[in-house]
C-alpha cells in the first residue's frame, strides 16, 4: 500500500467523494499533499501564510518519547532482555511526553550520540518538578490527616511527620523540608492556628531523616526503629525552646501531664520540657518511621520505579 496510504486514509475521511481510490491521492497538488504528510507545525507547511501559533504547543503522538524511542532504538538492542530494555528506557521516560521543542532536541541528540537517556534528556528538571508536585501534597495530607486524628484523641503522641519522612525518602531532603513546613503552615489554616510556629521542627526532621537514609537507616525494621528513636531526641531538642517560649511549657497535648510532674518535682521549665520530649518523642517518632517504612514497603513496583533516582528509596528498599 505504500507510505502514502495512511495519509490517503486520513484524507478520505475528510473528503470521501473526491478521494475514492488511493490513486486519486497522487493527483492532489504537491503543496497540499506535503502539508498533510508533514509533522511540522502549521506555520511551517509549504506555502502556508499562517503566523506563529499563539496556543501552547501540545506534543503530537510522534513527539512522545516512546514513539521516538521505538523508531531510534538501535536494532542490536532490540533483542535484549526486558531488564536491558528498562536500563535504556526507564518506565517514567516511556510514559513521559515532551513538553517543549528544546527537550525534544535534547532527546534527539541523546539518541543519536547513544548517550544515557536520563542524563541528556533535559528532562531531569521536568521529572523532579513533576515528582515534587505529586508527592508534596500527598505528604502534607498524610501529616495533617494523621496529626489531626491523634490530636483530637488527646494521645501523648503527635504522628504529624509521617508525610515528611515519606517524602524525604521518596524525593529528598529539600522536598521533605517543603512538605513539613508547608503542612504546618497549612495546618494553621485548616487545623490549629498555632501549628505554623513548629515549622522549624519539621525542617529538622526532614534533614535528619535524609542524612540517616543516605546511610541506609531504613533498610530493616530494627534500623528503622533506631532511626525513629534518634529522631525523637532531635525533635525534642529542636522543639523544646518553642514550647517554653510560646506555650510556657504546656502544649495542651497528653504529654503536658509529664511536664507538670517534672515541674512539680523542681526541675527547670526547659529541662522539664526537654525531658518530656525525650520520654515521649522517641516512641512517637519510632512509630512514625515504622509507619513510613510500612507505607513505602507496600508501594507497588510500578510506583517505586518512578522514584528510582530521586530520593533514598533504592538505598533503603531495594533487595
Amino acid at each position: 500500500m505504500g507510505r502514502d496510504y495512511s495519509y490517503y486514509a486520513l484524507c478520505r475521511l475528510l473528503d470521501p467523494h473526491v478521494l475514492s481510490t488511493p490513486e486519486t491521492f497522487k493527483a492532489y497538488p504537491p503543496s497540499t499533499a506535503a502539508a498533510i504528510s508533514s509533522t511540522e507545525p502549521r506555520e511551517k507547511w509549504p506555502g502556508s501564510t499562517a503566523g506563529p501559533s499563539t496556543r501552547a504547543a501540545f506534543p503530537t503522538p510522534m513527539a512522545t518519547i516512546s514513539a521516538r524511542a521505538t523508531a531510534m532504538w538501535p536494532i542490536k538492542h532490540r533483542r535484549k532482555s526486558p531488564q536491558e530494555f528498562r536500563r535504556y528506557f526507564p518506565p517514567f521516560y516511556l510514559r513521559c511526553r515532551l513538553s517543549s521543542r528544546r527537550q525534544k532536541d535534547h532527546l534527539e541528540n541523546a539518541m543519536n550520540t547513544d548517550h544515557d537517556l536520563e542524563a541528556a534528556s533535559g528532562g531531569v528538571a521536568l521529572r523532579k518538578g513533576a515528582l515534587l508536585m505529586a508527592t508534596i501534597p500527598v505528604g502534607i495530607l498524610l501529616n495533617l490527616g494523621l496529626g489531626t486524628l491523634v490530636h483530637l484523641l488527646r494521645l501523648p503522641l503527635f504522628v504529624d511527620a509521617v508525610g515528611t519522612v515519606v517524602v524525604t525518602l521518596l524525593v529528598g531532603i529539600p522536598a521533605g523540608i517543603a512538605t513539613g513546613v508547608l503542612s504546618f503552615l497549612l495546618g494553621g489554616l485548616l487545623v490549629n492556628p498555632v501549628m505554623p510556629y513548629f515549622s522549624g521542627t519539621q525542617a529538622a526532621i526532614a534533614i535528619f531523616v535524609g542524612l540517616i537514609a543516605r546511610g541506609g537507616g531504613f533498610r530493616s525494621v530494627p534500623k528503622t526503629i533506631l532511626t525513629g528513636v534518634l529522631l525523637g531526641v532531635v525533635t525534642a531538642t529542636v522543639s523544646a525552646p518553642v514550647i517554653v517560649k510560646l506555650f510556657g511549657g504546656i502544649t495542651g497535648s497528653g504529654s503536658g501531664v509529664i511536664t507538670a510532674f517534672l515541674l512539680a518535682s523542681g526541675h527547670s521549665v526547659l529541662k522539664s520540657v526537654f525531658l518530656t520530649g525525650v520520654s515521649c518523642e522517641p516512641v512517637d517518632k519510632a512509630l512514625q518511621c515504622l509507619l513510613a517504612f510500612w507505607l513505602l514497603k507496600s508501594l507497588p513496583r510500578k510506583l517505586k520505579d518512578r522514584f528510582a533516582n530521586a530520593g533514598y528509596l533504592q538505598r533503603n528498599f531495594s533487595k
Binding site: A56, A57, F58, R95, C96, R97, L98, S99, L126, G129, A130, L131, L132, M133, A134, T135, I136, P137, V138, I140, L141, L142, L144, G145, L146, L149, V166, A178, L182, L186, G188, L189, L190, N192, P193, V194, P196, Y197, V244, L246, F247, G248, G249, I250, G252, G256, T259, A260, L263, A264, S268, V269, L291, W294, L295, S298, L299, P300, L303, R306
Partner: protein
C-alpha cells in the same frame, strides 16, 4: 465588607507586624487590648464562631494547664530572676494564654477567611510562584478529595464484608487499611496529574492567574486601617518591652 478586603501587600505586612507585636508584648493589659481589636475584626468578618471554637478546644486546655502548674504547683514564673509567688505564676499563665490566643486570632483574621483566589493572589504578591503555588493550591483541593475517597474506601470494605458497621471504633480499627490504600492511590493519581500539568505547560500559565482578581475587589482604605493598627500595636509592644 470593605474592612475584610485589604490589598494583599497590606495584609501581609499587617500580619507580620501583628505577629511581631504579639511575640514582644509582655503585659496582660497590652495583650488583652490587642486581642480585643483582633476579635472585633473577626466579628466584623463573621469569623467569631471559628475563633470561639479555637479558643475552647485549644487555648482553654493550655490555659488551665498553665494556671495549674505556674499558679498552684510552682507558684511563680519561670526564669532565674523571676518573682516566686502565686500572683507571679498566675500572671505568667495569663500572659502566655493571651499571647497564644492573639497569635491564633491574628492568623484566623488575616489568612484563614481568605477566598482561594485571594489566597493565590496573596501568595503571588509575596513571590510564591509556579510549582510552589501549584503545590499549595492542589493541597487545598486534595483535602476534600481525600475525605471523599476515605468514604469510598469504607463503602468498598463494607460491601466486601470486611467492615461490619460504620461506628467510630470500627472506623479507627480500619485506619491502617485506609491509610495504605489512600496513600498508594493518591500518589499514583498525583504523579499522573503532575505529568500532565508539566506536559501541557499549565505550571507556566499559572502565573497568568495573577491578574484574575480585579484590583477593585480590594479596599485600599481597609489596607491603610490594617497597616495603621498593626504599626501602632508593634510600636506599643516594643516601647512597653524596653520600658520594663
Amino acid at each position: 465588607m470593605w474592612f475584610a478586603s485589604p490589598p494583599p501587600l497590606y495584609r501581609g505586612l499587617a500580619v507580620l507586624l501583628a505577629l511581631y507585636g504579639a511575640i514582644l508584648a509582655n503585659t496582660v493589659n497590652l495583650l488583652a487590648a490587642g486581642l480585643l481589636v483582633v476579635t472585633s475584626a473577626l466579628w466584623a468578618q463573621g469569623q467569631l464562631r471559628t475563633f470561639a471554637k479555637f479558643a475552647f478546644t485549644l487555648i482553654l486546655p493550655v490555659g488551665v494547664g498553665l494556671v495549674a502548674i505556674w499558679g498552684f504547683i510552682r507558684q511563680g514564673a519561670p526564669g532565674p530572676a523571676a518573682e516566686t509567688s502565686m500572683r507571679a505564676g498566675l500572671l505568667f499563665a495569663a500572659v502566655t494564654t493571651l499571647r497564644l490566643a492573639l497569635l491564633g486570632a491574628v492568623f484566623l483574621a488575616a489568612v484563614v477567611n481568605l477566598a482561594p483566589v485571594r489566597l493565590v493572589d496573596l501568595l503571588q504578591t509575596f513571590g510564591i510562584r509556579r510549582r510552589t503555588l501549584a503545590i499549595i493550591v492542589s493541597t487545598l483541593n486534595l483535602w476534600p478529595d481525600f475525605r471523599r475517597r476515605v468514604e469510598q474506601v469504607f463503602a468498598a470494605r463494607c460491601a466486601r464484608g470486611l467492615m461490619p458497621d460504620r461506628r467510630l471504633g470500627t472506623r479507627v480499627r480500619q485506619l491502617p487499611y485506609v491509610v495504605r490504600t489512600l496513600f498508594v492511590s493518591a500518589l499514583g493519581q498525583a504523579l499522573e496529574r503532575a505529568d500532565s500539568w508539566e506536559s501541557s505547560g499549565l505550571i507556566e500559565r499559572l502565573d497568568d492567574l495573577r491578574n484574575s482578581p480585579s484590583t477593585s475587589d480590594y479596599s485600599r482604605v481597609a489596607g491603610f486601617v490594617w497597616l495603621a493598627l498593626s504599626i501602632t500595636w508593634g510600636v506599643a509592644a516594643t516601647l512597653r518591652l524596653f520600658s520594663t
